[in-house]
């Protein structure tokens, strides 16, 4: 594989966003994933979401581990710095980058192998630390890049290409995140851009870690009959709990259209998500009802999708750290070094 740059032609009539950028400006290198791979749809949704959000490319930091999914970071936001780190350890690298420069908008991309096997501890602790980041888990139930072994998210009874059934219960990142106290938990489907784009936008605007589990089928190793992470199966079993509309800061917020119950969650930057539950009495701001809903869907063989839970009041890593507003990397050295006089003074403590 070699990264293939796309020709930088801009269509004259291309629509521009608030920053005067076209959609193409949010794209990256040409994908080298398999034709039809779910991950490429996630890329497209990310491009769309960032463009619609007027996200300044230079402020983004694209973070990933290793896997087909983790290659996604190369395929969008070519004008942003990116970091394809080591397998399962993206969360810690992102924590460090975010600690050093709180001005960065961290976009982490991972896979089910990367996040739920080797990286389960790091994902869990990034949730606990509530690093301010978007965390997209491109979930296909297999290790794509190493050719199709079951991952920890493979469902009970799901069959491999060779026909073997998975016997171990899956780890559901959504339940895990809810149990660990995540402040933004969603699930979506790479095949459902309508649903995915607003969730990505809300996740980007959320303060703290926004975990989005995206079912993203692997056409090479897990899209066959008998797989529960195929396009067909996901389409047939997806049940949206809450539809999210994202309303950027600059738009007026209109609450409740018609008779539909709508809940508006104000995000820390002033933007908001309008949550329209499709299930009765579903409260996306109540952690326990979200958990119960997901479990209920599981019991019925359904896949709960949508923005399942959001808590905009939680503290994030920088709150815990009590760091100054200025990114640490921008502090002048003079504010960091106590200097010679302080040293002399200090030395008397050691006599």
């Amino acid at each position: 594989m070699t990264s293939i740059a796309k020709p930088p032609v801009r269509h004259p009539s291309a629509r521009l966003n608030g920053l005067g950028l076209a959609l193409r400006d949010y794209e990256g290198a040409m994908s080298t994933l398999c034709a039809g791979c779910g991950h490429d749809s996630v890329t497209a949704a990310l491009v769309q979401a960032c463009w619609e959000l007027d996200l300044p490319p230079h402020r983004a930091a694209k973070m990933s581990g290793i896997g087909c999914s983790s290659k996604t970071t190369a395929y969008f936001l070519k004008q942003s710095h990116g970091f394809n780190s080591v397998h399962g350890r993206m969360p810690s690298v992102t924590s460090g980058a975010a600690a050093a420069n709180r001005g960065l908008i961290c976009i982490g991309i991972s896979g089910d192998g990367d996040s739920l096997s080797i990286g389960l501890g790091q994902l869990s602790h990034a949730i606990r630390r509530n690093v301010d980041m978007l965390y997209v888990l491109e979930n296909n139930g297999v290790y794509g890049l190493t050719k199709g072994q079951f991952s920890a998210s493979a469902d009970l009874g799901s069959r491999s290409k060779r026909g073997e059934a998975n016997e171990q219960a899956p780890i559901d990142p959504v339940l895990l995140a809810l149990a660990l106290g995540a402040t933004f938990v969603a699930r979506s489907f790479s095949g459902d851009k309508q649903q995915l784009v607003p969730i990505l936008k809300a996740g980007l605007a959320h303060k703290g870690l926004a975990l989005i589990d995206v079912i993203s089928p692997c056409v090479s190793f897990n899209d066959h009959e008998g797989s529960t992470k195929s396009y067909a199966f996901t389409r047939a079993h997806e049940v949206e709990a809450v539809h999210a509309d994202f309303i950027p800061l600059r738009h007026a917020i209109t609450v409740g259209e018609g008779s539909e119950p709508v809940q508006v969650v104000q995000l820390h930057d002033g933007s908001s998500v309008r949550l329209r539950p499709t299930a009765d009495d579903y409260d996306p701001t109540d952690r326990d009802s979200a958990y119960a809903h997901v479990r209920g869907c599981q019991a019925r063989g359904e896949i709960a999708t949508g923005l399942l839970f959001v808590d905009e009041t939680g503290k994030d890593m920088h709150d815990f750290l009590h760091t100054v507003e200025t990114p640490l990397i921008d502090l002048p050295y003079e504010q960091l070094c106590p200097g010679a006089a302080a040293m002399d003074d200090l030395m008397s403590r050691y006599r």
Partner: protein
């Protein structure tokens, strides 16, 4: 070692009983009397109830290595009486807590045995159990004050400085101290033949441990991100950094922090955080010990291969595996120098004492950013956790961090195309940009094969260009890193050359002096960095007999010299000490003399 201002005391007690403050008091008192002193804490890997020892060496000549013999043993723990009695040098003194009997079988004719019922005295004098336990320590300190002729005024001052704000405590401590002092006086042997007499040899010195010193280095170097996972003996480094930051790095107005300390979930995460922060442009560091270094191997290789600065303090302890967490060793050298799978080579600095911990810590950050690579500071438990007497630290306000080649927006403007890994200057160091810059400065870091433009590659030539550059870059560090320190016997090379590293230095230089006194001329060269400076080669070439003194089983420093300089292994005699305690000069002297025939007077 058995005279005025030249002797050693070893105190055996039980951990978790608060003896540290008494030992500190004694050290401090001697220090304030102007007499060079050093202390070694030999403690168990648990929290409470097991044997623990503290060794104090007094040396008017200024030697601070662990003493080769013990003149006075204070035996407070009946469980270790046998060991403690055995340790007294012939002609030395044993002082035991006679609240409990000393087994008659342990009596020795060649030593003086003194008993003071410290426990009993404290039971009589104090009410509460906790006080009785704690003050027994001050009581033995008082006895030692009498036996060793410490100035009571100095001790009183110290007690006042510590307890001045709590009159009740001050009084109790005073009582305990006086009680011990008086009891010792009554023995009729005070002062002992070996004792302390005021000098003026500590005026410019401080007593400090290496972990505190490293932390201070990180503070002054402008490090803003520290990530770690607790592990003995590295823990106190980050704790010290935290307390310095709380003092010097809180915004006076908003009370917010100009630093971020992350207690990570493990060492892998700590390494990842530091690398992420280094990539983002912060000076970042982690502190760990052997097991952590093993866990960080994959991440270290990533940082090496992607040119990311990061500083790792490895406060070495006794390996392998969990090993002896409260014992010292220098056995991570190979693990550090070639950390991670694949072809790698890393800059490693070897401080010899806390003062150098401070200096090399600052340099570590400069080297890491200049060479855009992980830099290790290989300290050890002895340096890190014991109080050493070293010259006070000074700071030059004109210092500015060497950020290396970082292109800002302006610099970027001036160039046509930014190629992250292009060796424009021929020194193997390519300019970087920081995230947040965007535009043509944006690039993609990948631990997978990449070419000089940071593009993905599987092409042999493009791959090799990058790893060859890395090899050149690290080779260049040999000159930039701190040069070795020579302690020469005279203007011309001596017959014997001792090469050593880190905390062994004190003992090795003392050994050289001892050998000199026996008519053997010895030069000492202390290596301070890997890759090795050209002076190391020169030193070896100019000495007929070369010994490498280090604290590990497998002669790891010698192995590195053989690989990197091409010096034949057997051209260098290995002098190894790896039982876990700080090195003594006698071990070195014995080993050198054992080389036998080769060593002429």
């Amino acid at each position: 070692m058995n005279g005025r201002n030249d002797f050693a005391v070893r105190i055996g007690t039980v951990n978790g009983t608060g003896s540290a403050s008494a030992n500190g008091l004694l050290m401090q008192a001697i220090f304030r009397m102007g007499v060079p002193v050093s202390g070694k804490n030999i403690f168990p890997s648990n929290i409470q109830g097991l044997p623990t020892w503290y060794e104090i060496r007094v040396s008017g000549a200024g030697w601070t290595a662990r003493p080769s013999a013990i003149d006075l043993v204070v035996a407070l723990n009946p469980a270790t009486h046998a060991q403690d009695v055995a340790l007294v040098r012939p002609g030395g003194v044993l002082l035991y807590d006679s609240t409990w009997p000393l087994d008659a079988a342990l009596h020795r004719d060649d030593i003086t045995i003194l008993g003071i019922p410290f426990g009993q005295l404290c039971v009589q004098a104090f009410e509460r159990d906790r006080d009785r336990t704690l003050l027994r320590n001050i009581c033995y300190a008082g006895a030692l004050a009498a036996l060793l002729d410490l100035e009571l005024g100095v001790i009183e001052t110290l007690l006042t400085e510590t307890y001045g704000k709590k009159p009740h405590l001050l009084a109790a401590n005073h009582t305990a101290m006086q009680m011990g002092y008086d009891a010792a006086q009554r023995l009729g042997v005070c002062p002992l033949p070996f004792h302390v007499a005021r000098m003026d040899r500590t005026g410019d010195a401080i007593l400090i441990d290496g972990n505190t010193a490293c932390a201070l280095g990180a503070l002054y170097a402008g490090a803003t991100v520290g990530a770690w996972y607790p592990i003995t003996p590295a823990t106190s480094l980050m704790e010290a950094f935290k307390s310095f930051c709380e003092r010097y790095r809180i915004d006076p107005v908003t009370k917010r922090h100009r630093y971020a300390i992350l207690q990570a979930e493990d060492e892998l995460a700590a390494a990842g955080i530091v690398i992420g922060a280094g990539w983002a442009g912060a000076r970042a560091f982690t502190n760990t010990s052997g097991p952590g270094i093993s866990l960080m191997q994959e991440f270290i290789g990533l940082a090496y291969y992607t040119d990311i600065p990061a500083v790792f303090f490895d406060v070495q302890r006794c390996g392998p595996a969990t090993g002896m967490p409260t014992r010292t060793q220098q056995a991570d050298l190979l693990s550090l120098a070639y950390a991670s799978h694949g072809d790698t080579k890393h800059i490693v600095l070897f401080p010899a004492d806390p003062r150098e911990c401070f200096e090399l810590a600052v340099q570590a950050f400069d080297l890491a950013e200049r060479f855009q690579t992980p830099v290790f500071v290989a300290s050890d438990l002895d340096i890190g956790m014991n109080d050493w007497m070293v010259p006070r630290f000074t700071w030059d306000d004109s210092y500015r961090p060497d950020r290396g080649k970082v292109l800002d927006a302006e610099a970027l403007e001036r160039i046509q195309k930014f190629s992250r890994y292009r060796d424009a200057d021929g020194d193997g160091i390519a300019a970087r940009t920081l995230p947040g810059l965007g535009g043509k400065g944006a690039y993609f870091v990948r631990g997978s094969g990449h070419d000089q433009h940071a593009g993905y590659t599987e092409d042999a030539a493009a791959y090799q260009e990058v790893v060859d550059r890395l090899a050149r870059k690290i080779a260049g560090a040999a000159t930039a890193a701190p040069a070795p320190v020579l302690t020469a016997h005279g203007p011309a090379p001596a017959e014997i050359g001792l090469i050593t590293i880190g905390g062994c230095d004190e003992a090795v230089r003392e050994a050289a002096a001892m050998l000199d006194a026996q008519g053997h001329a010895v030069d000492v060269l202390r290596v301070r960095a890997f890759p090795f400076h050209a002076d190391v080669q020169r030193f070896i070439d100019s000495h007929d007999t070369v010994c490498v003194v280090e604290q590990n089983r497998d002669a790891q420093l010698r192995a590195l010299l053989a690989v990197e300089l091409g010096v034949p292994r057997d051209r260098m005699h290995a002098i190894l000490d790896y039982g876990g305690l700080p090195l003594t000069a006698q071990v070195v002297v014995d080993a050198v003399l054992a080389l036998g025939a080769g060593v002429a007077a």
